[in-house]
Symmetry: C2
Subunit: 202 residues, 2 copies
């Protein structure tokens, strides 16, 4: 454990600095290329200290996602208000977050991690269920609120794949407002419209 | 170059066998863990022969995707017919393909590759644009057919992320028919409905 520069290993400030270094590493290098050793070097601590605080790379990724790496509050800000226009508010805010250089990069790292590491997929699933979907589900006054929130999430995730990760034209270059307006009614149908989920054979 | 077992390096059969080994490797090990060397070993040829035919790992991935690794024809089968029910046909068929053990695994490898390798993302973009989206776009009689086809694709890709890759409940366990019915009207709106893309500031 590194004691140089007068830092104590158990110092909460050191723990935060490691987390900041991890968020920066995941964001700039991506999930696959980020290592415990590299994060330790960037935070000027011993790799053993990183493992002491976060266990392994996936533990570090989990902490990075929860600890300010993901802009959940900025998305959840818009769920209050008229339920009839929730689709509009969600699609605009979600696209704004992706358009933000730093936040967009962070979200793209999370998508990359979740498709390439089963452990990261587990974490994103838990994170989405507990942190993102639960508050949205609570706003939904219709039948099957969890399924509705997830269908809306599926549209938003897929939109990010096409527009920001694969960057397929013409959708990648379409002005954000036009994309938001095209998608909003579909989100709204999922959130408050008729889904007929019970009328079909299970 | 391996001449053992009486095979000539330039033999089209050998080239096909390498491709089959590549599809199997990408499917079972994923994009990140597949190597030229491993594919060569599985096909019982020299790695140099794999590189001779396919260049590098990304070239091999591209060939695997085009050469029977992706079930494009099975999806495109349903685009003919009444445009008013195209959303239903596409959502049912797309989900059926994901539910198929082998095909689902192949599609999940492609998603994983596209989020973790920029070269694979380039290939998936080109593949989707040329092979998948073009025939769908040609069926669309409304304004902005390319954007409409892409919006529908965004919904389908996101649905696969939530249901088959992240496997978030309750959407992951919902019967396929219910999911298809819930999603179909949204696809249909993208394909033939009102999008007001021109009424917004560009």
């Amino acid at each position: 454990m590194s004691e140089e520069r007068g830092r104590r290993p158990g110092n909460p400030q050191t723990k935060d600095e490691i987390l900041e270094a991890a968020i920066a590493a995941f964001t700039t290098q991506g999930y696959a290329k980020t290592t415990i050793r590299g994060v330790a070097r960037a935070a000027a601590v011993d790799p053993a200290l990183v493992m002491h605080f976060y266990g392994n790379k996936d533990g570090l990724f989990d902490a990075a996602m929860r600890g300010g790496g993901m802009p959940v509050n900025l998305l959840l800000d818009v769920i209050q208000g008229d339920p009839a226009t929730l689709g509009e508010r969600l699609s605009s805010r979600y696209l704004s977050l992706w358009e933000h250089p730093l936040i967009g990069r962070r979200m793209s790292v999370v998508m990359q991690a979740a498709t390439s590491s089963p452990a990261a997929a587990d974490m994103l699933r838990e994170f989405m269920t507990e942190v993102v979907l639960k508050p949205v589900t609570e706003q939904i006054q219709a039948d099957h609120p969890e399924t509705r929130a997830l269908l809306a999430a599926s549209q938003m995730i897929g939109l990010a794949m096409i527009r920001y990760i694969l960057r397929i034209e013409p959708l990648a270059s379409l002005p954000m407002e036009q994309v938001a307006a095209a998608v909003a009614p579909n989100l709204q149908r999922y959130l408050t419209g008729t889904l007929t989920l019970d009328e079909l054979p299970r």
